[in-house]
């Protein structure tokens, strides 16, 4: 195996690991927000309660007016579930990872703003009970960097694959007249 092939294999493996890590994180984040609280069994009612509890965490960021808090809280966990499954499937990876990066970028910006404003609230990142602090910022910043790396890797890998699969152009060499 040539060094170039080894590097290519390593790159593919790292891209796969990055994609799976992001997928697992998003699936867990969705699960943590949707799972029944207070020893309730899984049901439509328990999910509704969990989403209402998550709405309180969204509200504590003091970013959205009350009429937008509930729609945002009901949209985010299913969207995280969808993104997790999309990343897991690997279909159209550059676009999945790009949307993931944009979402994590928005989360990170809101968290930094809230932390700088001195609000002492729960992060709400992986369900209730986790305080927003330097560690959560460091973790979410790392996740954002990971998503960015996966996005760049996915786009470059896609371009490389397209280049390699493109038909080779045959150029006829002009014959010398002598």
């Amino acid at each position: 195996m040539t060094p170039s092939e080894t590097r290519g294999n390593l790159a593919r493996t790292l891209l796969l690991l990055g994609r799976l890590a992001l997928a697992a994180i998003f699936l867990f984040a969705a699960y943590a927000k949707l799972k029944p609280q207070a020893a309730m069994p899984w049901s439509g009612s328990s999910i509704k309660t969990s989403l209402s509890l998550f709405a309180m965490q969204v509200d504590s960021y003091q970013l959205l007016p009350p009429q937008f808090v509930s729609p945002a809280a009901h949209f985010l966990p299913p969207f995280e579930l969808f993104l997790g499954l999309w990343l897991l499937s690997g279909v159209l990876l550059p676009y999945a990872s790009l949307i993931t990066t944009l979402l994590l970028g928005a989360f990170f910006a809101v968290m930094v703003r809230t932390y700088m404003a001195g609000l002492e609230i729960n992060c709400g990142c992986f369900g209730p009970g986790e305080r927003l602090g330097p560690l959560t910022l460091l973790r979410d910043g790392s996740l954002l960097a990971l998503a960015l790396a996966v996005t760049i890797g996915a786009f470059l890998h896609g371009r490389k694959t397209r280049t390699e699969s493109a038909p080779v152009a045959h150029v006829s060499t002009p014959q010398r007249a002598d």
Partner: protein
Amino acid sequence: MSSRINSRFIRRAVSRAYSIGATLVAFAIFVPVSPAQTATPTSAKTAAPAHKRTAADAAPSAPVKTIGNRNAPITMEVFSDYQCPSCGNFFETTLRDMIKDYVASGKVYLVHHDFPLQMHTYSGQAARWANAAAMIGQFQDVDAALFDNQAKWSADGDVEKYISAAISPANFKRIQGILKGCTAAPPTSKADRSAPQPDPGCPVDPYIVQDIVLGYQVPVQATPTFIIHYKGQSYPASSGMITWPILKQFFDTLLSQ
């Protein structure tokens, strides 16, 4: 030539991007989470709300720092500091509406716990006044007076002025009588989570200390922190400013179960 350089550059860039990515994957997976994420609030572990557990240990003259019907389906415990601006904001914009609406109609039972922070000079003193008022059944008026005038007494520590304006002179004298022996500094929560020392001559200090220790168990990491109990189940503690429409929505979801 230039295309060869380009492809070499791209390969190196990809390789570096993946190396960075791998490091970040490892970091994201193994980074330690804050203790609050893994710790379950003590009151959430037990079916009985914290106020019911403390009430059992309390002496007959214990201050009653509650508002509403004890048999209301929802109990909300709030750990608060009278001098903390977020607590004042939470009272004025959320709890006031909740008391008028859901507490008055018997849907919610509100339990106040004192969690005076060390960083606030007069919050311990304000907690003493609130507890003394609670001993003679005047908690609700004094609680509201303290939050309504928070900005004023926070500047000079003149808590008495606003309490005397909120209750009758006779009741004010009774409260003054209760606090007569309170000469040492009032108890406040400590950064190292150690139990503060009550003033032996101050009859309300043990109740403030009791609330602070209960707050450590939750754990209260910021004020206001509140815990909601419904049908014997406790929901995870929330902290920060929550608006009344969103809190009401959560109560309605619980009541519709």
